[in-house]
């Protein structure tokens, strides 16, 4: 049996769900735009500080497909650059949250006892505070910046991963293969990361791709509240919030940026569905 074989079968299983393939295509498109933004965007210079009052507040037209904002910048170009920001934000926050949450959940469930009580109570405390409020509280400490926003969101997000991993590992803790590894003399680290973690991977991957959507939304909310990336960085959330001042006359500002967020979130959610189907059978 060749190595490519199970992967091919996995893809077939994933592809059986048409919607998740559509989601993957959406993400691929967004990713492509984000990576090659300077080449894809019709007016790449509009991502920065550009003032062009001659073309300000223009509705969608052949020249500016999605119209222009109040200082005359092309909305489409800014959305394409905004994808960069959103994807990076999602990727950084989700990977930080997964790393921290996984370690906490794994250690708590495997070691048990006092370690478990302390770690899981701390997790519960974090869970008790709404993510947005927690992130805002952290951001309130100092000047808003993209980096701080990402750290704040990761801090708000990791407890969910800790809970997820904790639940899985708790149920596997006394499975035969764990005992077998312990009897052989495998170190706790080896048992946790070599034996138990691979069994969490499917759920973590599925949750990660769901979270990408939610985290991007949370990031957009923070930007909307003026706590995200400072201007002139093109940020989808900021664009929605700024555009909302001009509703309903300059409708394209908020609606297009909002649709862009919707596309990313939808793409990741559809892929998450497909991933869940994929791992369900093997699990």
């Amino acid at each position: 049996m060749s190595k490519a074989d199970p992967r091919w079968r996995g893809w077939r299983r994933f592809a059986r769900n048409r919607l998740s393939v559509f989601g993957a295509a959406l993400i691929a498109l967004v990713l492509f735009c984000a990576l090659f933004a300077p080449y894809v965007a019709p007016y790449p210079e509009h991502a920065g500080v550009v003032v062009n009052f001659a073309d300000a507040n223009k509705p969608p037209s052949a020249k500016y497909w999605l119209g222009t904002d109040s200082v005359g910048r092309d909305v489409l170009s800014r959305i394409i650059f905004g994808f960069r920001n959103s994807l990076m934000l999602g990727a950084v926050v989700v990977s930080l949250a997964i790393s921290l949450g996984t370690i906490v959940g794994l250690v708590a469930a495997y070691l048990g006892g006092k370690v478990e009580s302390v770690l899981m109570r701390v997790t519960d405390i974090f869970l008790a505070i709404p993510s947005l409020v927690l992130a805002m509280a952290i951001l309130g400490i100092s000047q808003p910046s993209q980096m701080l926003a990402m750290i704040a969101m990761a801090v708000a997000w990791w407890p969910w991963h800790a809970r997820l991993v904790y639940g899985i590992v708790r149920s596997l803790r006394h499975e035969g293969f764990v005992t077998a590894a312990e009897v052989v003399g495998a170190s706790p680290l080896k048992v946790m990361f070599g034996e138990l973690l691979p069994n969490c991977a499917p759920n973590l991957l599925t949750k990660a791709s769901l979270d990408m959507g939610f985290v991007i939304l949370l990031g957009a909310s923070l930007s909307f509240l003026g706590m995200g990336a400072p201007p002139p960085t093109p940020d989808l959330g900021t664009m929605v919030s700024e555009g909302s001042q001009y509703l309903p006359d300059l409708w394209w500002l908020s609606i297009t940026a909002g649709l862009a967020i919707f596309v990313i979130v939808l793409g990741f959610n559809l892929v998450a569905d497909g991933l869940r189907d994929l791992f369900d059978i093997v699990g």
Binding site: G176, F177, T179, V183, V184
Partner: protein
Amino acid sequence: MSEPLLQIREAAKTFHVGSSEVKALKGVNLSVGKGETVAIVGESGSGKTTLANLILGIEKPSAGEIVLAGRPLSGRRSKADRRQIGLVQQNPYSTLNPRKSIGQAIGLPLSVHNVCRRSERRRRIGELLEKVGLHPELQDRRPLALSGGQRQRVAIARALATDPELLVLDEPTSSLDVSVQAHILRLLKDLQEELGLTYLFITHDLSVVRVLASRVIVMYRGLVVEEGAVADVFSGPRHRYTQQLLASIPTVSAEDDRLKPDWSWEADVDSTEVAEEGCPFRPRCPFALPACAAGTPVLAGPKHHLHACLNPGGAPTRKSSLELLAGQ
């Protein structure tokens, strides 16, 4: 007699559940000679699994000691000590990590103990698989692709990976199809002859005991109540619990039924009653004497057949339970 491979001296284990204590083992003595097959039988809660966990180092004894090949095992186990003991577990559907290939499962003990160089590992895993009657190419497959019997063979191969002296087999056949059980038992027997292994069987399947074991140890509520050569114990059980246990082997003919003990062994007694003092079987025993409540009976009798009963059943005059089993 040469020095026994495994010796357990006065092993006791008490679990603390909330504020109450559960005495899982109350001072068990046991010795297993090299190349021997010893079966430990008993009902749930008899302490047989706790005993196995002490031997494997999963639990620490509250008292007593475990001696392996002359070296007492206490505190943290050294890798050399761990290598000497292999484990085959009950449920082959949970003993293999579903996310890892067969080769990775067998490779774990090889890498933990540095049995062979990384480049040789694949070949070594193949050899181990062949030893248990599986195709070496199977090492790239996931457990999901294997049947229960095949998985149990993989578990045996994994247990053999470190060239252990002693294999602890915890109900190795009880979750397998009857037709597969025979194959696994034959494999175990062949491996024992080939590699000179010592087996410690934990089981409640008495027909497995008869086929494979040379000596049997009957446990009840954390104590050894009877111990002896399989033929002796099966043909003339002395302790009332052993008699009851052997009598509970299902029979199909009236002729067989006549061989059952002449006392009401079937009487459903409230077995939840725990005797704090004296013989633990006393609440269920129709032959209990006042003396039974005084102190825990100690193992007594000829060396090849010990029993801990103050009012034991006599040597049988009837056709023995062993023949009864053979007749099935």
